[in-house]
């Protein structure tokens, strides 16, 4: 060092300054890197439907009530406590005081969170007159698919810290519904400021929430950088920085995890699991997933309007070979539209038998003795409920060729794919669902209900069947779980008989991570949240 002239010393210092500062703060700050699988659609969960977006928004926003970490139990969130009237129609929420908002370069909050923000959260999704209703997208999928517009009678602000919600009818899963991601609360003050500035879309691009982490930087398809919010109402997160390194390819994610470039990764390729379990420094957490992957028949399109054709196709596909080849050890065959870990699962349901001969006969009876041509959509990305849709599609294609059905596999970019399927442009297509509030209603209404069967709704079979709809509507209006179970079991029998889906499998939820990660809890809903997670030095 002494040999270097002072000039070079200064130059050297300058070049070192930035990395040095970085490493110093690193020593003190704990950074957790999550190799996420894709970019979020935006930063407003109310119009999102994918786990990818929810994983991001979940860190930023808080909700009126929250699920306990790693469970399905609903606990206090922005509301400290609540009361429910005897008839189950009136909910009064007493809000937490002193909850701080994040700030960013556009916005410095002048007030704490209060009832106005809750009102805004509802109005934005509910009332077309709200100036924000159409901002970013007018399609509030979750809010609509769960029948909220029909369920809500009024949302009233009693005082700054009390909100009263009145329902038109009793709804058992209502509280759990409010803990879901789409109900993330945004700042009314920020919304007003952005509206005034003429840039309302900023509300959803540069988010301000009350959650455990605040957004620092987002670069599409590259990185999302968060910082722990020191004034988070439940106390600052144990880690200081949270980074989402966006890595769409599962084998690249695994390579990064192995090399220590990230600490946690979602959705491993089943084929890599054995190696992962054997690799020192890596642990793989697993739990039965609250999900289902399926092939939806579009019942509004020929020939799938004929239930015989749907049954025949279901009979012609060899489910076991799909699970063996694609899910490997990470899936169990699905016979019902809900997973076995979900209460009200109907054990008595008989699964479709693999019977190509029977399928041929049934097709002949339906007037398709020589088979027919159909498209089959397969999503281009890996999902928690489906490790490789294109591969499954190829297997189905081979199976269906044996009964004379010619299948053309189609794929679109994931966002486009979902939009087109929700509009019902497909004949058959793969889709899936991860439950997000622990209630069977969350599967049946959003995926098979009539509200969701409208164009743009989440029911991609577009199947609206009165007897089924009546049962699930009735079940939602009672609170007695035993009673509801009976109705849901009946609904599952009808579902099986009408065969709007070929239900494929329930995937085991797997989260590989480095052993330095402490206290990560797998969410039954497939979320990846990092509040409460710590890193060993």
């Amino acid at each position: 060092m002494t040999a270097i002239t002072s000039k070079t010393k200064i130059a050297l210092l300058c070049t070192l300054a930035i990395p040095a500062a970085f490493s110093v703060s690193n020593a003190a700050a704990k950074t957790l890197v999550f190799c996420s699988e894709g970019s979020p659609e935006n930063f407003y969960p109310g119009i999102n439907t994918t786990g990818t977006s929810f994983d991001v928004n979940s860190q930023i926003y808080s909700r009126i009530v929250e699920f306990e970490r790693g469970g399905t139990k609903v606990g206090p969130g922005l509301a400290e406590r609540w009361t429910i009237s005897k008839d189950g129609k009136e909910y009064t929420f007493f809000l937490r005081k002193g909850v701080k908002w994040h700030s960013n370069k556009n916005f410095k909050p002048t007030r704490d969170f209060n009832a106005d923000d809750i009102m805004f959260a509802f109005d934005r999704q509910w009332k077309e007159s709200n100036p924000y209703f159409k901002v970013t997208s007018p399609n509030h999928s979750y809010f609509n698919d769960m029948g909220m517009p029909d369920l809500l009678k009024s949302v009233e602000k009693v005082d700054d810290y009390t909100v009263k919600i009145t329902l038109k009818s009793q709804a058992a899963p209502f509280l759990a519904n409010l803990a879901m991601e789409y109900a993330g609360v945004q700042s009314k003050e920020y919304a007003d400021a952005m509206l005034k500035a003429g840039t309302p879309e900023k509300l959803d691009q540069e988010p301000v929430g009350t959650g455990a982490f605040m957004l620092v930087q987002y670069q599409k398809d590259a990185i999302i950088r968060f910082k722990a919010f020191p004034e988070y109402y439940a106390g600052k997160a144990k880690i200081d920085d949270l980074i989402f390194a966006i890595t769409p390819d599962a084998s690249v994610r695994w390579a990064k995890l192995q090399k220590g470039e990230c600490h946690v990764m979602p959705y491993p390729t089943p084929a890599d699991l054995d190696t992962m379990r054997k690799t020192p420094g890596i642990k793989v957490m697993e739990q039965p997933g609250l999900n289902i992957g399926f092939l939806a028949y579009n019942v509004t399109k020929k020939p799938f309007d004929d239930v015989r054709v749907r049954r025949a196709v279901s009979m012609a596909i060899n489910k076991k070979s799909i699970i063996d080849a694609v899910y490997l050890s990470t899936g169990i065959a699905a016979k019902n539209p809900i997973p076995p870990t979900q209460w009200s699962y109907n054990n008595a349901t008989k699964d479709d038998v693999y019977d190509p001969e029977g399928a041929k006969k049934l097709l002949a009876a339906a007037g398709f003795a020589n088979g027919f041509k159909t498209d089959m959509w397969a999503m281009p990305v890996q999902r928690p409920y489906n490790p490789n849709a294109r591969r499954i599609a190829e297997l189905m294609q081979a199976d269906l060729a044996k009964v004379g059905v010619t299948v053309e596999i189609k794929s679109f970019e994931w966002g486009e794919y979902r939009k087109r399927m929700q509009n019902g442009e497909h004949q058959t297509g793969m889709m899936g669902w991860t439950g997000d509030n622990g209630d069977p209603d969350n599967f049946l209404t959003t995926q098979l209900g009539c509200d969701a069967a409208k164009p743009g709704g989440g029911n991609v079979t577009k199947w609206c069947y009165k007897p089924f709809e009546d049962l699930i509507k009735k079940a939602v209006a009672i609170t007695d779980q035993a009673e509801r179970t009976k109705l849901y079991e009946k609904a599952q029998t009808i579902f099986k008989d009408q065969a709007p889906w070929f239900s494929i499998a329930h995937a085991v939820q797997l989260t590989p991570m480095r052993t330095e990660v402490i206290d990560f809890k797998q969410s039954p809903f497939g979320r990846h949240t990092f509040y409460g997670v710590d890193i060993k030095e």
Partner: protein, 302 residues
């Protein structure tokens, strides 16, 4: 190299000039690389023609109970699947054999499409000159400024994914090369005496274009076409890799490669073998093209 050259050129000593084909073979066989290329192409061609006889299984027959079996020489492999199986239990050897059909068909169709349209456009541009030439050549220049794969992706995006559309896209992308070569040769041939003689003796435009000038452009076009086949196979494989080319279950090599990316660390044979096939075939066509150029190009003749 020179020895073989002398052997074959020997006949010239006996007075009469050698038959053109014989002379061509003399030059061509002197280039060992080109002969090797030709041998490989003949092999791939036979594979394609005899696919039904050679392939042990149907290319799209799945059998998930044997998924990801390694090749026979590796531990766990079996001789019933010589080169192993892919993720859903299809025999890789059979798929590669059937894939050669697709790849050769792609190469030939693409080159045929682009040669025919390229030659016609080039002839028109070179013969008529003027505004027509300017128009055609500027359009070709514009096409050349866009990176070839990008242009192909744009065209497929418009037409929709599929093998036929991918071939059309690739044909369009390589078109400018043929147009430019044809036009340049036509212009230089037009000033030659035999053309003037033909014009003087009252030959029609079409006759001059197609029976006088065109035959004299063929050597260059043959060379470009043989090199073009390899480019076409490669581009089509790239489109297949991006999911825009051949659609499942067709055993196109590029598509096979893309489908098995995730196994690169775990089951090398699923990824490596289609890649090797693309490599050898493309290399063979390139070697052949080089040999043809050496043998046919008058400027390079000794």
């Amino acid at each position: 190299m020179t020895d073989t050259m002398n052997d074959t050129v020997v006949p010239t000593i006996h007075g009469s000039p050698p038959h053109p084909l014989r002379e061509f073979w003399g030059y061509f066989s002197g280039n060992h690389g080109a002969v090797a290329g030709l041998a490989i192409i003949v092999f791939v061609l036979l594979m394609a023609i005899l696919a039904d006889v050679l392939a042990p299984y149907a290319p799209d027959m799945t059998n998930t109970s044997v998924a990801l079996t390694p090749p026979f020489w590796q531990e766990g492999g079996s001789t019933s699947y010589l080169l192993g199986t892919d993720a859903i239990g299809r025999d890789i050897l059979s798929r590669l054999i059937y894939g050669s059909r697709l790849s050769l068909a792609i190469g030939i169709v693409v080159v045929a499409l682009s040669v025919i349209s390229g030659v016609v456009l080039g002839l028109i541009a070179g013969y008529f000159r003027g505004i027509l030439e300017i128009f055609i050549m500027r359009v070709m220049d514009i096409m050349l400024t866009i990176p070839s794969l990008l242009l192909a992706i744009v065209i497929v995006a418009i037409l929709g994914p599929g093998l036929m559309n991918a071939m059309i896209a690739v044909a369009l992308v390589v078109l400018p090369h043929y147009v430019r070569i044809t036009r340049a040769t036509v212009i230089s041939e037009m000033s030659k005496d035999y053309v003037t003689a033909a014009i003087v003796s009252g030959a029609g435009k079409l006759r001059i274009m197609f029976s006088e000038v065109l035959p004299n452009c063929t050597p260059l076009l043959i060379v470009q076409a043989s090199l073009g086949i390899s480019a076409a196979i490669l581009d089509a494989a790239a489109l297949g890799f991006l999911g825009l080319g051949a659609q499942p279950p067709s055993p196109e090599w590029g598509t096979m490669l893309a489908d098995s990316r995730e196994f690169v660390l775990r089951a090398w044979w699923v990824v490596t073998l289609p890649g090797l096939m693309i490599l050898t075939t493309v290399l063979a066509f390139n070697l052949l093209g080089d040999g043809l150029r050496d043998a046919l190009d008058p400027k390079l003749k000794r």
